[in-house]
Symmetry: C3
Subunit: 154 residues, 3 copies
Protein backbone atom coordinates (compact mmCIF):
# COMPACT_ATOMS: atom_id res chain seq x y z
CA UNK A 1 0.00 0.00 0.00
CA UNK A 2 1.25 3.47 -0.89
CA UNK A 3 0.49 6.66 1.02
CA UNK A 4 1.00 8.69 -2.16
CA UNK A 5 -2.40 8.22 -3.76
CA UNK A 6 -5.43 10.44 -4.34
CA UNK A 7 -7.35 7.92 -2.20
CA UNK A 8 -5.31 9.03 0.86
CA UNK A 9 -6.80 12.21 2.41
CA UNK A 10 -3.41 13.08 3.95
CA UNK A 11 -1.79 13.06 0.51
CA UNK A 12 -4.67 15.07 -0.93
CA UNK A 13 -4.08 17.64 1.84
CA UNK A 14 -0.41 17.68 0.86
CA UNK A 15 -1.24 18.17 -2.81
CA UNK A 16 -3.62 21.08 -2.10
CA UNK A 17 -1.16 22.82 0.24
CA UNK A 18 1.71 22.24 -2.19
CA UNK A 19 -0.19 23.54 -5.21
CA UNK A 20 -1.12 26.74 -3.32
CA UNK A 21 2.46 27.24 -2.14
CA UNK A 22 3.81 26.65 -5.66
CA UNK A 23 1.38 29.26 -7.03
CA UNK A 24 2.53 31.64 -4.28
CA UNK A 25 6.18 31.08 -5.18
CA UNK A 26 5.68 31.52 -8.92
CA UNK A 27 3.41 34.52 -8.31
CA UNK A 28 6.21 36.24 -6.41
CA UNK A 29 8.33 36.18 -9.59
CA UNK A 30 5.46 37.91 -11.37
CA UNK A 31 5.19 40.53 -8.63
CA UNK A 32 8.86 41.35 -9.34
CA UNK A 33 8.11 41.62 -13.07
CA UNK A 34 5.08 43.84 -12.35
CA UNK A 35 7.10 46.12 -10.08
CA UNK A 36 9.95 46.37 -12.61
CA UNK A 37 7.48 47.43 -15.31
CA UNK A 38 5.46 49.78 -13.07
CA UNK A 39 8.50 51.60 -11.65
CA UNK A 40 10.60 51.27 -14.84
CA UNK A 41 13.50 50.38 -12.50
CA UNK A 42 15.19 47.56 -10.65
CA UNK A 43 16.83 45.87 -13.64
CA UNK A 44 19.72 43.44 -13.04
CA UNK A 45 21.54 42.89 -16.32
CA UNK A 46 23.56 45.29 -18.54
CA UNK A 47 21.73 43.97 -21.63
CA UNK A 48 18.39 45.05 -20.10
CA UNK A 49 19.36 48.62 -21.05
CA UNK A 50 18.94 47.85 -24.76
CA UNK A 51 15.99 49.87 -26.10
CA UNK A 52 13.01 47.74 -27.10
CA UNK A 53 9.46 46.73 -26.15
CA UNK A 54 10.59 45.82 -22.59
CA UNK A 55 12.45 49.13 -22.11
CA UNK A 56 11.24 52.13 -24.12
CA UNK A 57 13.48 54.66 -22.41
CA UNK A 58 16.72 53.06 -21.17
CA UNK A 59 18.74 54.93 -18.54
CA UNK A 60 21.81 53.68 -16.58
CA UNK A 61 20.05 54.37 -13.25
CA UNK A 62 17.58 51.56 -14.05
CA UNK A 63 20.34 49.19 -12.91
CA UNK A 64 20.51 50.87 -9.47
CA UNK A 65 18.93 49.07 -6.54
CA UNK A 66 15.22 49.97 -6.25
CA UNK A 67 13.71 49.17 -2.86
CA UNK A 68 10.27 48.78 -4.47
CA UNK A 69 11.52 46.01 -6.79
CA UNK A 70 14.09 44.61 -4.39
CA UNK A 71 11.40 44.11 -1.74
CA UNK A 72 9.70 41.62 -4.04
CA UNK A 73 13.04 39.84 -4.55
CA UNK A 74 13.59 39.71 -0.77
CA UNK A 75 10.09 38.24 -0.39
CA UNK A 76 10.92 35.61 -3.00
CA UNK A 77 14.21 34.82 -1.29
CA UNK A 78 12.35 34.30 1.98
CA UNK A 79 9.91 32.02 0.13
CA UNK A 80 12.81 30.03 -1.32
CA UNK A 81 14.25 29.61 2.17
CA UNK A 82 11.00 28.04 3.37
CA UNK A 83 8.67 26.69 0.66
CA UNK A 84 10.89 24.09 -1.09
CA UNK A 85 11.78 22.62 2.34
CA UNK A 86 8.05 22.43 3.14
CA UNK A 87 7.30 20.71 -0.18
CA UNK A 88 9.92 18.01 0.45
CA UNK A 89 9.16 17.69 4.16
CA UNK A 90 5.40 17.40 3.67
CA UNK A 91 5.90 14.43 1.37
CA UNK A 92 7.97 12.38 3.81
CA UNK A 93 5.68 13.47 6.65
CA UNK A 94 2.69 11.93 4.83
CA UNK A 95 4.76 8.77 4.25
CA UNK A 96 5.07 8.02 7.98
CA UNK A 97 1.25 8.02 8.34
CA UNK A 98 0.63 10.77 10.92
CA UNK A 99 -2.98 11.33 12.09
CA UNK A 100 -4.89 13.21 9.38
CA UNK A 101 -5.76 16.02 11.79
CA UNK A 102 -2.05 16.81 12.27
CA UNK A 103 -1.44 16.77 8.54
CA UNK A 104 -4.26 19.28 8.12
CA UNK A 105 -3.20 21.48 11.07
CA UNK A 106 0.46 21.61 10.03
CA UNK A 107 -0.08 22.07 6.30
CA UNK A 108 -2.96 24.53 6.27
CA UNK A 109 -1.36 26.58 9.06
CA UNK A 110 1.88 26.69 7.06
CA UNK A 111 -0.02 27.86 3.98
CA UNK A 112 -1.88 30.49 6.00
CA UNK A 113 1.26 31.86 7.69
CA UNK A 114 3.13 32.13 4.37
CA UNK A 115 0.21 33.96 2.73
CA UNK A 116 -0.05 36.35 5.69
CA UNK A 117 3.75 36.73 5.70
CA UNK A 118 3.49 37.84 2.06
CA UNK A 119 0.90 40.51 2.90
CA UNK A 120 2.90 41.68 5.90
CA UNK A 121 6.14 41.89 3.91
CA UNK A 122 4.56 43.55 0.85
CA UNK A 123 3.01 46.30 2.98
CA UNK A 124 6.13 46.83 5.09
CA UNK A 125 4.62 46.00 8.49
CA UNK A 126 6.92 46.03 11.50
CA UNK A 127 9.63 43.42 12.00
CA UNK A 128 7.87 41.75 14.94
CA UNK A 129 4.75 40.96 12.89
CA UNK A 130 6.73 39.59 9.95
CA UNK A 131 8.96 37.53 12.25
CA UNK A 132 5.93 35.99 13.97
CA UNK A 133 4.53 34.48 10.78
CA UNK A 134 7.98 33.41 9.58
CA UNK A 135 8.51 31.68 12.91
CA UNK A 136 5.26 29.71 12.85
CA UNK A 137 5.91 28.46 9.32
CA UNK A 138 9.52 27.55 10.09
CA UNK A 139 8.59 25.69 13.28
CA UNK A 140 5.98 23.65 11.39
CA UNK A 141 8.57 22.41 8.90
CA UNK A 142 10.96 21.64 11.76
CA UNK A 143 8.20 19.79 13.65
CA UNK A 144 7.35 17.67 10.62
CA UNK A 145 11.02 16.76 10.05
CA UNK A 146 11.49 15.74 13.70
CA UNK A 147 8.21 13.77 13.58
CA UNK A 148 9.54 11.81 10.58
CA UNK A 149 12.81 11.00 12.36
CA UNK A 150 11.02 9.90 15.55
CA UNK A 151 8.51 7.81 13.61
CA UNK A 152 11.31 5.99 11.77
CA UNK A 153 13.34 5.40 14.94
CA UNK A 154 10.46 3.64 16.66
Amino acid sequence: MTEFSVQNPAFVTYMIASAIMILKLMGQGWMTVFRMIKSDAGLLNPEDLLAGPANRNPRPEQLARSDYVDRSRRMQRNDLENIPAFLACGLIFVAVKPPLIWVEIFMYTFVATRLIHTLVYATGQRHEVRATFYTIGSLIVIAMAIWVLLALLR
Copy 2:
Protein backbone atom coordinates in the same frame (compact mmCIF):
# COMPACT_ATOMS: atom_id res chain seq x y z
CA MET B 1 -2.25 1.47 -7.29
CA THR B 2 0.49 4.07 -7.22
CA GLU B 3 1.28 6.56 -9.97
CA PHE B 4 4.89 6.78 -8.75
CA SER B 5 6.30 3.69 -10.45
CA VAL B 6 8.67 3.07 -13.35
CA GLN B 7 5.73 1.20 -14.95
CA ASN B 8 3.86 4.54 -15.31
CA PRO B 9 5.02 6.42 -18.44
CA ALA B 10 3.91 9.74 -16.91
CA PHE B 11 6.19 9.17 -13.91
CA VAL B 12 9.03 8.10 -16.21
CA THR B 13 8.57 11.38 -18.10
CA TYR B 14 8.72 13.20 -14.77
CA MET B 15 11.91 11.37 -13.77
CA ILE B 16 13.65 12.17 -17.07
CA ALA B 17 12.65 15.84 -16.98
CA SER B 18 13.62 16.12 -13.31
CA ALA B 19 17.01 14.48 -13.78
CA ILE B 20 17.84 16.85 -16.65
CA MET B 21 16.72 19.90 -14.64
CA ILE B 22 18.73 18.75 -11.61
CA LEU B 23 21.83 18.36 -13.80
CA LYS B 24 21.15 21.86 -15.18
CA LEU B 25 20.87 23.30 -11.66
CA MET B 26 24.02 21.61 -10.36
CA GLY B 27 25.88 22.50 -13.56
CA GLN B 28 25.15 26.18 -12.98
CA GLY B 29 27.13 25.99 -9.74
CA TRP B 30 30.04 24.60 -11.72
CA MET B 31 29.75 27.38 -14.29
CA THR B 32 30.23 29.82 -11.38
CA VAL B 33 33.29 27.87 -10.20
CA PHE B 34 34.67 27.81 -13.77
CA ARG B 35 34.16 31.56 -14.18
CA MET B 36 35.74 32.33 -10.79
CA ILE B 37 38.84 30.31 -11.77
CA LYS B 38 39.03 31.64 -15.35
CA SER B 39 38.68 35.32 -14.37
CA ASP B 40 40.49 34.96 -11.02
CA ALA B 41 37.71 37.16 -9.60
CA GLY B 42 34.20 37.17 -8.13
CA LEU B 43 35.07 35.69 -4.73
CA LEU B 44 32.57 36.12 -1.87
CA ASN B 45 34.36 35.39 1.40
CA PRO B 46 37.25 37.19 3.15
CA GLU B 47 38.98 33.84 3.76
CA ASP B 48 39.08 33.21 0.00
CA LEU B 49 41.96 35.72 -0.10
CA LEU B 50 44.28 33.29 1.69
CA ALA B 51 47.04 32.24 -0.68
CA GLY B 52 46.86 28.59 -1.70
CA PRO B 53 46.08 26.20 -4.56
CA ALA B 54 42.67 27.90 -5.11
CA ASN B 55 44.16 31.40 -5.14
CA ARG B 56 47.80 31.73 -6.22
CA ASN B 57 47.84 35.53 -6.29
CA PRO B 58 45.37 37.00 -3.77
CA ARG B 59 44.30 40.63 -4.21
CA PRO B 60 41.54 42.53 -2.34
CA GLU B 61 39.79 43.42 -5.61
CA GLN B 62 38.96 39.72 -6.08
CA LEU B 63 36.13 40.34 -3.61
CA ALA B 64 34.63 43.08 -5.81
CA ARG B 65 31.56 42.25 -7.85
CA SER B 66 32.53 40.72 -11.20
CA ASP B 67 29.74 40.80 -13.79
CA TYR B 68 31.22 37.75 -15.51
CA VAL B 69 30.94 35.64 -12.34
CA ASP B 70 27.83 37.35 -11.00
CA ARG B 71 25.97 36.58 -14.25
CA SER B 72 26.33 32.88 -13.48
CA ARG B 73 25.01 33.51 -9.94
CA ARG B 74 22.04 35.44 -11.35
CA MET B 75 21.36 32.53 -13.72
CA GLN B 76 21.46 30.14 -10.77
CA ARG B 77 19.14 32.37 -8.75
CA ASN B 78 16.69 32.36 -11.66
CA ASP B 79 16.95 28.56 -11.76
CA LEU B 80 16.28 28.36 -8.03
CA GLU B 81 13.18 30.51 -8.49
CA ASN B 82 11.80 28.05 -11.04
CA ILE B 83 13.29 24.54 -10.98
CA PRO B 84 12.54 23.38 -7.39
CA ALA B 85 8.90 24.48 -7.85
CA PHE B 86 8.79 22.47 -11.09
CA LEU B 87 10.25 19.39 -9.37
CA ALA B 88 7.60 19.48 -6.62
CA CYS B 89 4.75 20.46 -8.94
CA GLY B 90 5.52 17.78 -11.52
CA LEU B 91 5.22 15.11 -8.86
CA ILE B 92 1.73 16.11 -7.68
CA PHE B 93 0.71 16.70 -11.31
CA VAL B 94 1.54 13.07 -12.15
CA ALA B 95 -0.41 11.98 -9.05
CA VAL B 96 -3.72 13.34 -10.39
CA LYS B 97 -3.38 11.19 -13.55
CA PRO B 98 -3.40 13.77 -16.36
CA PRO B 99 -3.34 12.47 -19.97
CA LEU B 100 0.21 11.36 -20.82
CA ILE B 101 0.39 13.75 -23.77
CA TRP B 102 -0.06 16.74 -21.40
CA VAL B 103 2.61 15.42 -19.05
CA GLU B 104 5.00 15.17 -21.99
CA ILE B 105 4.07 18.57 -23.47
CA PHE B 106 4.35 20.41 -20.15
CA MET B 107 7.49 18.72 -18.87
CA TYR B 108 9.58 18.58 -22.03
CA THR B 109 8.58 22.15 -22.95
CA PHE B 110 9.63 23.29 -19.46
CA VAL B 111 12.98 21.53 -19.87
CA ALA B 112 13.49 23.04 -23.33
CA THR B 113 12.62 26.59 -22.21
CA ARG B 114 14.97 26.42 -19.21
CA LEU B 115 17.84 25.13 -21.35
CA ILE B 116 17.24 27.86 -23.96
CA HIS B 117 16.88 30.43 -21.12
CA THR B 118 20.34 29.38 -19.94
CA LEU B 119 21.87 29.93 -23.38
CA VAL B 120 20.08 33.27 -23.77
CA TYR B 121 21.18 34.47 -20.32
CA ALA B 122 24.78 33.24 -20.65
CA THR B 123 25.23 35.05 -23.96
CA GLY B 124 23.53 38.25 -22.78
CA GLN B 125 20.71 38.30 -25.35
CA ARG B 126 18.11 41.06 -25.06
CA HIS B 127 15.61 41.21 -22.20
CA GLU B 128 12.62 40.34 -24.40
CA VAL B 129 14.13 37.03 -25.52
CA ARG B 130 15.10 36.00 -21.99
CA ALA B 131 11.69 37.04 -20.63
CA THR B 132 9.91 34.96 -23.27
CA PHE B 133 11.53 31.70 -22.20
CA TYR B 134 11.17 32.53 -18.50
CA THR B 135 7.47 33.20 -19.09
CA ILE B 136 6.76 29.91 -20.87
CA GLY B 137 8.47 27.90 -18.12
CA SER B 138 6.72 29.82 -15.34
CA LEU B 139 3.28 29.48 -16.97
CA ILE B 140 3.78 25.71 -17.30
CA VAL B 141 4.42 25.34 -13.55
CA ILE B 142 1.40 27.57 -12.82
CA ALA B 143 -0.77 25.53 -15.22
CA MET B 144 0.25 22.24 -13.57
CA ALA B 145 -0.52 23.62 -10.08
CA ILE B 146 -3.97 24.88 -11.16
CA TRP B 147 -4.64 21.54 -12.91
CA VAL B 148 -3.90 19.71 -9.63
CA LEU B 149 -6.29 21.94 -7.66
CA LEU B 150 -9.08 21.57 -10.24
CA ALA B 151 -8.59 17.79 -10.44
CA LEU B 152 -8.86 17.50 -6.64
CA LEU B 153 -11.92 19.77 -6.39
CA ARG B 154 -13.89 17.66 -8.86
Copy 3:
Protein backbone atom coordinates in the same frame (compact mmCIF):
# COMPACT_ATOMS: atom_id res chain seq x y z
CA MET C 1 4.47 -2.20 -6.03
CA THR C 2 5.72 1.19 -4.90
CA GLU C 3 9.24 2.06 -3.85
CA PHE C 4 7.90 4.93 -1.73
CA SER C 5 6.93 3.01 1.38
CA VAL C 6 8.30 2.72 4.90
CA GLN C 7 8.74 -1.01 4.12
CA ASN C 8 11.47 -0.10 1.59
CA PRO C 9 14.85 0.43 3.35
CA ALA C 10 16.04 2.63 0.47
CA PHE C 11 13.08 4.97 0.97
CA VAL C 12 13.64 4.97 4.73
CA THR C 13 17.26 6.00 4.06
CA TYR C 14 15.94 8.78 1.85
CA MET C 15 13.51 9.95 4.53
CA ILE C 16 16.20 10.05 7.23
CA ALA C 17 18.68 11.91 5.02
CA SER C 18 15.98 14.32 3.83
CA ALA C 19 14.72 15.08 7.33
CA ILE C 20 18.27 15.86 8.52
CA MET C 21 18.94 18.08 5.50
CA ILE C 22 15.62 19.91 5.98
CA LEU C 23 16.50 20.56 9.63
CA LYS C 24 19.91 21.83 8.47
CA LEU C 25 18.28 24.18 5.96
CA MET C 26 15.71 25.55 8.40
CA GLY C 27 18.36 25.83 11.12
CA GLN C 28 20.43 28.07 8.87
CA GLY C 29 17.58 30.59 8.86
CA TRP C 30 17.69 30.56 12.66
CA MET C 31 21.46 31.07 12.65
CA THR C 32 20.82 34.25 10.66
CA VAL C 33 18.19 35.36 13.19
CA PHE C 34 20.57 34.57 16.06
CA ARG C 35 23.41 36.53 14.46
CA MET C 36 21.13 39.52 13.72
CA ILE C 37 20.06 39.62 17.38
CA LYS C 38 23.54 39.00 18.80
CA SER C 39 25.27 41.66 16.66
CA ASP C 40 22.25 44.01 16.55
CA ALA C 41 23.07 44.43 12.84
CA GLY C 42 22.55 42.98 9.37
CA LEU C 43 18.93 44.04 8.90
CA LEU C 44 17.48 44.10 5.38
CA ASN C 45 14.29 46.16 5.42
CA PRO C 46 13.71 49.89 6.11
CA GLU C 47 10.79 49.00 8.43
CA ASP C 48 13.15 46.95 10.61
CA LEU C 49 14.40 50.30 11.97
CA LEU C 50 11.11 50.90 13.80
CA ALA C 51 11.75 50.82 17.55
CA GLY C 52 10.16 47.84 19.29
CA PRO C 53 10.86 44.52 21.00
CA ALA C 54 12.91 43.34 17.99
CA ASN C 55 14.98 46.52 17.83
CA ARG C 56 15.43 48.46 21.09
CA ASN C 57 17.93 50.95 19.72
CA PRO C 58 17.42 51.54 15.98
CA ARG C 59 20.28 53.11 13.99
CA PRO C 60 20.55 53.53 10.19
CA GLU C 61 23.85 51.59 10.12
CA GLN C 62 21.93 48.45 11.11
CA LEU C 63 20.95 48.24 7.42
CA ALA C 64 24.61 48.17 6.34
CA ARG C 65 26.07 44.84 5.25
CA SER C 66 27.42 42.90 8.24
CA ASP C 67 29.83 40.12 7.32
CA TYR C 68 28.88 38.23 10.51
CA VAL C 69 25.20 38.09 9.50
CA ASP C 70 25.80 37.95 5.76
CA ARG C 71 28.00 34.86 6.22
CA SER C 72 24.98 32.98 7.51
CA ARG C 73 22.97 34.17 4.49
CA ARG C 74 25.74 33.02 2.13
CA MET C 75 25.72 29.64 3.88
CA GLN C 76 21.96 29.43 3.40
CA ARG C 77 22.30 30.40 -0.25
CA ASN C 78 24.83 27.62 -0.72
CA ASP C 79 22.40 25.22 0.98
CA LEU C 80 19.60 26.35 -1.33
CA GLU C 81 21.84 25.68 -4.34
CA ASN C 82 22.35 22.09 -3.22
CA ILE C 83 19.78 20.70 -0.76
CA PRO C 84 16.49 21.10 -2.69
CA ALA C 85 18.14 19.41 -5.71
CA PHE C 86 19.25 16.58 -3.43
CA LEU C 87 15.73 16.19 -1.99
CA ALA C 88 14.18 15.88 -5.46
CA CYS C 89 16.99 13.77 -6.89
CA GLY C 90 17.03 11.33 -3.98
CA LEU C 91 13.35 10.56 -4.54
CA ILE C 92 13.70 9.64 -8.22
CA PHE C 93 16.94 7.79 -7.43
CA VAL C 94 15.06 5.52 -5.01
CA ALA C 95 12.37 5.01 -7.67
CA VAL C 96 14.78 3.31 -10.09
CA LYS C 97 15.66 0.68 -7.44
CA PRO C 98 19.43 1.11 -7.03
CA PRO C 99 21.26 -1.31 -4.69
CA LEU C 100 20.60 -0.30 -1.07
CA ILE C 101 24.30 0.08 -0.37
CA TRP C 102 24.58 2.83 -3.02
CA VAL C 103 21.54 4.62 -1.63
CA GLU C 104 23.19 4.60 1.80
CA ILE C 105 26.64 5.62 0.54
CA PHE C 106 25.34 8.48 -1.62
CA MET C 107 22.79 9.83 0.84
CA TYR C 108 24.71 9.61 4.12
CA THR C 109 27.87 10.93 2.45
CA PHE C 110 25.86 13.87 1.09
CA VAL C 111 24.47 14.57 4.57
CA ALA C 112 27.94 14.33 6.12
CA THR C 113 29.56 16.63 3.54
CA ARG C 114 26.85 19.27 3.94
CA LEU C 115 27.15 19.22 7.74
CA ILE C 116 30.94 19.49 7.53
CA HIS C 117 30.58 22.22 4.88
CA THR C 118 28.45 24.16 7.39
CA LEU C 119 31.12 23.91 10.08
CA VAL C 120 33.87 24.84 7.62
CA TYR C 121 31.92 27.84 6.31
CA ALA C 122 30.79 29.07 9.74
CA THR C 123 34.34 29.07 11.06
CA GLY C 124 35.82 30.66 7.91
CA GLN C 125 38.21 27.85 6.99
CA ARG C 126 40.21 28.22 3.80
CA HIS C 127 38.59 28.08 0.37
CA GLU C 128 40.14 24.72 -0.54
CA VAL C 129 38.56 22.95 2.44
CA ARG C 130 35.12 24.44 1.83
CA ALA C 131 35.33 23.66 -1.89
CA THR C 132 36.23 20.03 -1.20
CA PHE C 133 33.05 19.33 0.77
CA TYR C 134 30.91 21.32 -1.68
CA THR C 135 32.38 19.27 -4.51
CA ILE C 136 31.66 15.88 -2.94
CA GLY C 137 28.04 16.81 -2.23
CA SER C 138 27.53 18.26 -5.70
CA LEU C 139 29.04 15.22 -7.44
CA ILE C 140 26.76 12.90 -5.47
CA VAL C 141 23.64 14.72 -6.70
CA ILE C 142 25.03 14.68 -10.25
CA ALA C 143 25.83 10.95 -9.98
CA MET C 144 22.29 10.15 -8.77
CA ALA C 145 20.72 12.15 -11.63
CA ILE C 146 22.89 10.40 -14.24
CA TRP C 147 22.14 7.01 -12.64
CA VAL C 148 18.38 7.74 -13.00
CA LEU C 149 18.75 8.64 -16.68
CA LEU C 150 20.88 5.54 -17.44
CA ALA C 151 18.48 3.27 -15.54
CA LEU C 152 15.52 4.61 -17.52
CA LEU C 153 17.31 4.37 -20.87
CA ARG C 154 18.04 0.68 -20.39
